[in-house]
């Protein structure tokens, strides 16, 4: 919930009450409500008088037995506390805040935004479409005072100019993408800055670098915001009679398994470590990544040397004459320290080395990291200068850096300054580590100053100046001596690389980045570019619906494919049991996926699990329980499926599978949170076992794998449809995470309406793997499928 009165609260309350009046849907994104300053109680966050709970669905008034005094009290647990009964309060007359589908009118009445609608207004209100409500709610995100009338104002409801396939020049390109990036940035800012949390309990620690670290739980509701290491947060103490107000900014350095955040504070003095409760936490939004995208587009437009002429026209979709790079090809295409390449991998490396622009499609488990590393190895050996290697995510960059380094090349992993305290599996390759550990005598001055800084926390201003200059020089020296520099796409815009030129660039996971993000590493002088990815899996995450609708979610890789660039596809998969790869191969890769693993190599020997068909470790478990909207009002959950997920997990654990082998995935955050909760409360084995099991959203599991995957589909309704599950790319990701076995829980009656799911269900049925009944007595299900609605193209 947003704390300060910026009007955002108004929007929230309006969001609640509005939906109420519509009688349509519950779209209460925030359970917390702040009254407007003109309301009878003034600007007030509604909360339980006793425990501070702010969930409006739980709050109600009680009055004192004798006086005209009332308080807000939550229904659970406070209303049920026995001791209260002996006090002066009349508990039997508890009166909920939300009554008969409405917010208590007298509480919100008289504020400027919430007027009891007149007859006329209500007539109008009834004619509002669900689409209009969505639009107004979207407007509230940037303009809390927006009203329905604002939808009609010129400009407000205008959709931005959509992306196209071909662009006249880089200025047109910039004119299309710059507003989309702006939209996404504004949305991101709005969302993150509204994530303040109060009443946070903190415990204190000191890091190895002597910096203060605050540990606290930042409740992970099923909202869109996920903290990641490197994020900046502000920790505040509002002050009381004995303690002054205090605040400090810090970086998240890790997230513990217990969902605890470790925040390394910038402040070293005056930290109120004697206090533990009553802190507040805000998200500090940074525009860096968006600024770098805008900057890259500008460079692309104004600087002719930013990319080669050939690539310039190629990226804009112009006709260009076919070009071959004349290099002497290596005799063998593998690289030292890497596994032997298979035929399609060798071909990929060979073709890439001869082309200025190439796309490599790596379906799940086909070894695209090894292939990428081999390509980079040969590029570096061509002596055209340093190679730049990027990916949108830090995890992918780390993996790639490690693989490339194992070929013997000199690799430097450049991390954002905010992530220097975040531990990394390739720490020895990071620039900040190498700066600290460079062992030459002429660096002794820097080491001395570093030591002093570590011990004292700060340096005198002249020493600080000297320290910074020495550090910068050392950084440059290390970067210059590298064969390969690895960083995220956004990291390629780091000022420390601004004087570097890279003729050869490889971008992994490029189908998960937006075009402007992809452009950042390219505008440093690229002549040869390799984009690796898979456009049959999920693309970049765009939060702003308007920007997504306009095409920001389409990657450069995808656009080039549509323009006719044929991606080179890796064809041998080494992850899935052959019976698990069959459907994805046929459905998403025209049946071209071959198995590099045998049935024997994926045999779950010694595991006693009730697979309905022996040697076929898969089944679709028919579920008929209804879906529900989650507490946040923005996601879904399904209790029946959650209960059965727990049973399946328990059966796996009993049969000898260890927690780290199991992954539970679901498309919905609401269900993810519910399953975690459900397992920890209802699991019949040791608590710790369930805690160790990873429960994740399908989207966040892209690029990962587990031996056993349990997929909970959630959606089960008469008329609403299947939402997220409609995206074939999400289904592809979900089906291709398991190495040894998969269990899918879902409602075939609902899912079969969608053609792709219909064929998946048919596939499972044909193999006698569509089952129902108790886990220890699974029977083939005779459930009727529905006719699929539209032909999926």
């Amino acid at each position: 919930g947003r704390r300060a009165c910026g009007g955002g609260c108004r929007a929230q309350l309006r969001g609640v009450s509005w939906s109420w009046h519509r009688g349509g849907r519950v779209r209460a994104k925030h359970k917390e409500v702040c009254l407007h300053k003109d309301s009878p109680l003034g600007e007030t966050i509604l909360e339980c008088y006793n425990c501070g709970c702010r969930n409006v669905f739980l709050l109600g008034f009680i009055s004192a037995k004798s006086e005209n005094v009332v308080v807000l009290l939550c229904r659970e647990p406070c209303l049920n506390v026995n001791a209260l009964k002996d006090m002066n309060w009349d508990l039997s007359q508890w009166c909920p805040l939300i009554d008969d589908r409405c917010f208590l009118s007298w509480l919100v009445k008289a504020s400027s935004f919430y007027q009891i609608p007149s007859e006329q207004e209500q007539l109008r209100a009834r004619q509002i479409s669900a689409q209009q409500i969505n639009k107004v709610e979207e407007l509230w995100k940037t303009n809390p005072d927006a009203a329905l009338e604002d939808l009609e104002k010129p400009g407000v409801d205008d959709e931005p100019q959509p992306v196209v396939l071909k662009y006249e020049d880089a200025y047109q390109y910039q004119n299309v993408f710059a507003p989309l990036i702006k939209l996404e940035a504004d949305y991101d800012k709005m969302m993150k800055e509204s994530q303040s949390k109060d009443n946070v309990t903190v415990r204190w620690d000191i890091g190895l670098n002597k910096k203060r670290v605050a540990y606290f739980v930042f409740p992970k509701e099923d909202n869109e915001l996920r903290l990641v290491p490197g994020d900046e947060l502000r920790l505040r103490y509002p002050g009381d009679s004995a303690h002054p107000t205090w605040q400090s900014v810090g970086h998240v350095i890790k997230l513990t398994a217990q969902e605890e955040v470790a925040l390394e504070l910038r402040a070293s003095q005056g930290v109120p470590t004697e206090l533990n409760v009553g802190f507040s936490v805000d998200f500090v939004w940074k525009s860096t990544s968006f600024d770098r995208m805008q900057g890259a587009m500008k460079t692309f437009a104004v600087d002719e040397t930013s990319v080669s002429g050939y690539i310039y026209h190629h990226l804009l979709g112009h006709e260009v004459e076919h070009q071959i790079i004349r290099n002497t090809l290596p005799r063998r295409f593998g690289a030292p320290g890497l596994p032997e390449l298979n035929a399609s991998q060798v071909l990929a490396v060979k073709s890439v080395l001869q082309k200025p622009v190439s796309l490599i499609q790596g379906p799940p488990g086909t070894g695209k990291t090894v292939t990428s590393a081999a390509i980079v190895y040969h590029m570096a050996k061509q002596g055209q200068g340093q190679v730049l290697v990027c990916a949108p995510s830090n995890v992918a960059v780390d993996q790639l850096a490690e693989k490339i380094s194992s070929t013997g090349l000199k690799v430097v992993r450049l991390c954002a300054k905010s992530r220097e305290a975040v531990s990394s599996p390739v720490e020895h390759l990071t620039l900040h580590y190498q700066v600290r550990h460079l062992d030459t005598s002429d660096k002794s001055e820097l080491h001395k100053l570093q030591q002093l800084k570590d011990e004292q926390g700060e340096l005198s201003s002249s020493d600080e100046k000297k320290y910074k200059a020495l550090k910068r020089a050392t950084e440059r020296e290390i970067l210059q001596s590298a064969d390969v520099i690895c960083c995220t796409c956004v990291g390629a815009g780091d000022p420390r690389l601004s004087n570097f030129r890279f003729r050869q660039v490889l971008i992994d996971e490029s189908t998960q980045s937006t075009e402007p993000e992809c452009l950042i590493p390219l505008v440093l002088g690229v002549k040869q570019v390799v984009l690796v990815g898979d456009h049959c899996q999920l693309g970049p995450v765009i939060m702003c619906k308007k920007a997504a609708r306009a095409g920001l979610a389409q990657s450069l890789f995808e656009r080039l494919v549509i323009l006719g660039v044929k991606p080179f596809r890796l064809q041998v998969q080494y992850r899935m049991h052959p019976c698990l790869s069959e459907f994805p191969s046929n459905c998403f890769y025209e049946g071209t996926l071959q198995n590099g693993v045998t049935v024997n190599e994926r045999q779950s020997s010694g595991i006693d699990f009730p697979w309905p068909v022996p040697n076929r470790p898969m089944f679709f478990y028919v579920q008929m329980g209804q879906e529900e909207i989650s507490a946040s009002g923005t996601s879904y959950l399904n209790r029946t499926e959650a209960a059965n997920v727990e049973k399946i997990v328990t059966t796996f654990l009993r049969s000898g599978v260890v927690p780290s082998q199991i992954g539970v995935i679901t498309p919905y955050e609401g269900q993810r949170a519910y399953i975690v909760n459900y397992m920890s409360r209802n699991g019949s084995l040791r608590q710790q076992l369930y805690k160790e099991i990873e429960v994740a959203s399908v989207d966040s599991f892209q690029g990962r794998e587990k031996d056993y995957i349990i997929l909970s589909c959630v959606r089960s309704n008469e008329h609403q449809g299947i939402g997220f599950l409609n995206d074939p790319r999400r289904l592809n990701v979900a089906l291709t995470r398991a190495r040894y076995g998969i269990v899918i829980l879902g409602n075939p009656k609902v899912l079969s309406k969608q053609p792709l799911w219909n064929s998946l269900l048919t596939h499972y049925k044909e193999h006698e793997c569509l089952v129902e009944g108790p886990l220890n007595n699974l029977k083939q299900s005779m459930v009727q499928f529905q006719k699929p609605k539209k032909i999926y193209n």
């Binding site: 006793n50 969930n55 009332v70 308080v71 659970e76 647990p77 609608p117 209500q122 507490a631």
Partner: protein
């Protein structure tokens, strides 16, 4: 008193049903999320400060918005003091609520019942 529910009518019964189901789910989910909170651990901090009960006029003790006069009913409204916390400090705010609101009604019935006893 203003009655919303009498005016907002003509809603598609199917929509209404869906809405009720979703609302119920929301309430249930909210309730369940709190049930785990151990009641035993919960400290009660529900004493009504004496000065509120006595109608103390000491502004340092409680921040009362204005209105010295606490007329019980004015124009179909009842004036109540809403007891709130600001940090650790207790404060009251006065507000008018419709005499026919369920909160007032239920309290009155209760009082009447007690008188009869």
């Amino acid at each position: 008193g203003v009655e919303i529910r009498q005016k907002v009518v003509q809603i598609d019964p199917k929509e209404q049903e869906d809405f009720d189901r979703e609302l119920k789910a929301l309430l249930q989910e909210s309730l369940e999320s709190r049930k785990s909170e151990a009641r035993s651990r919960l400290t009660l901090n529900m004493m009504v400060p004496m000065n509120v009960l006595e109608g103390s006029k000491d502004p340092r003790a409680i921040e009362s918005e204005s209105g010295e006069e606490t007329v019980d009913e004015e124009g179909g409204n009842v004036r109540v003091k809403v007891l709130m916390k600001k940090g650790h400090k207790q404060q009251t705010k006065q507000m008018l609520i419709p005499a026919d609101s369920s909160l007032v009604q239920s309290t009155k019935q209760q009082e009447a019942a007690e008188l009869e006893e």
